[in-house]
Symmetry: C2
Subunit: 391 residues, 2 copies
């Protein structure tokens, strides 16, 4: 097969709020080859990512991402790996390229799955997919009471693992943060697994992270996520040395395999959190899974958007039984919920199953998405390089 068409659809809520909720817009990717269609999603700024797909060439190592994709052969996973190598060589100086490639890669795997009538995880070499225990991923409340109430409600919905992040956490005093995490623990009950996401709020200041450790231990927090910017490897490492028994987690900012390895090798994270929609897609995420297994770190998805993105994020480690937690977004905006008509719901055990159907096993709800479609147009020297296609 040859890749005949790659289309992007910029979707958005009518109003995007100034909150840490990444489900307010989306960039959906559709790839066509040999009569098959595959879908993917970039977890990335839609307009900038579209520009990276179609921009004019600046020089031999700064070409638009599509230059390495359109017309390429696609018959096997090896073809996808070759496309990756080409994009990295031809778009090396295009910083947004990895985010753009992510959605394309996911769509290519979905398409191969349709072609061979196999789920992606089988194409990745796994013999079976193991159930994952979902953690409900949500934002801190504005007050400890609000946090307690929302965590309690989530527990009552059946979630045994909850992660709270962003909101006020880390921005004022250690005492205020203690009140928040103890309130979360109260809402969850003593036997639930509680995680905290600091959202890089302490940049690279070790002392600010260290000052929160006592309260995190008091609340029996399982992991502390993203205390620092992704690149502050030595600061991560220093905190990881002090934080036991609390794991340090991080990696969602990784936009290539190298950065994920650095989190394991130099930052000392116990959990490496990979967003398939950012790191370069399923191909790169699978390489990180293999590396994490080899190095004794635990792999986990980062997903805060649609169930298409969720399926794509589960495929890379579906077959690794020991890495059994998964992030499960529970505060989706309607766009992210409506993006697919089917959803990956917890089973009777409260677990999430990676779909057994061909490809991602879940497809966009095209009719519903027309309500969210953003009309965008990019014109350079009189030539229309992008115009939102019909959905």
């Amino acid at each position: 097969m040859k890749i005949e068409a790659v289309d992007f659809f910029y979707l958005s809520m009518p109003q995007v709020e100034d909150i840490g909720d990444g489900s307010q817009d989306a960039l959906l990717v559709r790839v066509a080859a040999g009569g098959y269609v595959g879908w993917g999603e970039c977890e990335a700024a839609p307009l900038v990512t579209i520009a990276a797909m179609i921009c004019p060439m600046s020089h031999s190592a700064c070409k638009p991402v599509l230059a390495s994709v359109l017309g390429a052969s696609l018959d096997s996973p090896a073809d996808i790996a070759r496309i990756h190598a080409d994009v990295h060589q031809n778009s090396m100086d295009l910083l947004q390229a990895d985010h753009a490639l992510s959605g394309i890669d996911i769509a290519l795997w979905d398409l191969l799955g349709q072609r061979y009538q196999e789920p992606v995880w089988k194409l990745l070499g796994y013999e079976r997919a193991y159930p994952k225990t979902p953690y409900a991923s949500m934002l801190f409340g504005d007050t400890p009471q609000e946090t307690c109430d929302k965590v309690r409600a989530t527990r009552e919905r059946g979630f045994r693992v909850v992660k709270l992040g962003w909101g006020p956490y880390g921005k004022t005093t250690p005492e205020a943060d203690r009140d928040q995490v103890l309130a979360a623990r109260e809402g969850l009950g003593a036997d639930g697994l509680l995680c905290v996401d600091a959202g890089t709020v302490w940049a690279d200041d070790l002392a600010l992270g260290e000052a929160r450790l006592a309260a995190l231990r008091e609340a029996k927090v399982y992991w502390l996520e993203e205390p620092f910017h992704t690149g502050a490897l030595h600061v991560y490492k220093a905190l990881a040395t002090l934080s036991a028994p609390i794991y340090i987690a991080g990696g969602e900012g990784a936009h290539n395999e190298h950065m994920a390895r650095h989190m394991i090798d130099y930052a000392g994270v116990g959990y490496v959190q990979i967003d398939t929609g950012r790191i370069g897609g399923i191909t790169v995420a699978k390489r990180v899974v293999d590396y994490a297994v080899q190095r004794g770190a635990r792999y986990i998805n980062h997903t805060f958007t649609s169930h298409l993105a969720l399926s794509a994020s589960l495929q890379p480690y579906a077959g690794v039984r020991e890495h059994h937690l998964c992030e499960y977004p529970v505060e989706l905006k309607s766009l992210a919920y409506d993006l697919t008509s089917e959803h990956l719901l917890p089973d009777a055990n409260g677990d999430i199953q990676t779909p057994d159907q061909p490809g991602l096993g879940i497809a966009p709800d095209v009719a519903a998405l027309r309500n969210y479609l953003v009309d965008a147009e990019i014109v350079v020297n009189g030539q229309t390089l992008y115009k939102t296609p019909a959905l």
Copy 2:
């Protein structure tokens, strides 16, 4: 002062060739505040970088770069540092943000220099600017003879240091590469300093780099640049352990301070090469200079474009006497040459002086640039988010 306006100008040669020459287009940035104007340049894909400046917000950590710049206070270098912190917090998930910020940062420093009638290097705290020895930066010829001839011609123009890069180097056999570097040495003469740039051609394959070391030693090469992708830190380190007396150089791909530190701390480079137009501007480059000095690595600019970019790249280490080499592009396309009417030419000693005039000490030739101005327009849901402004 408040930042009143930030404008971007996409400039391009009429034809962009598929060669490793980054001087074929440019993104010029103009900032206005308090009656002053500053200019900067992003070493980045223009269209994608413009999109990063003006894209709609996706969520609280994925805002357009301009959201943290327009209307901000600007009276001192501390204000620029605050703008950096704001961009990193508010545009964290916008991968192209650092490339966009680079040109803005340079323009902000230029503007402060106009305001206080001081060269940027004085505002950075240096008491004087030391001359730099330029190395002529050029592409390998297609054949060893062509390489020999062009290096000889460059030597005859007075350059004592030459760096050859890209072209056929590293792509076929070690024997072919040996012929190229020996031809370069022949053209340069025994007493010149010769450097080789592999342009990341060996990705992360140590053996491919190691196989070239003998010939590089035979040609008495001073440094080997970018044998691998920027992120392949452990492979860099392994080659650096084997390469003496040849230094390993790298870092042009760094788009934040962390990545530059990783090149020093984990990759073991002897020379850290920073592109002010990519890493986040003069502010971030200066932090890398300080870190390199502290860690005993040598700082050097990466510049392959205009003399506006060249001045911006010299400012961060103008006052560090011991770090005395500088990259000096000698094969500029007319756009990059015409971008400024004045140029930083070698003095009687063959050295380059960082300008002593306010700001960058060199300004765009606006009239000449009108011939290169690209007309671009970005429209989202009927709203024009960008249209090339008048120059």
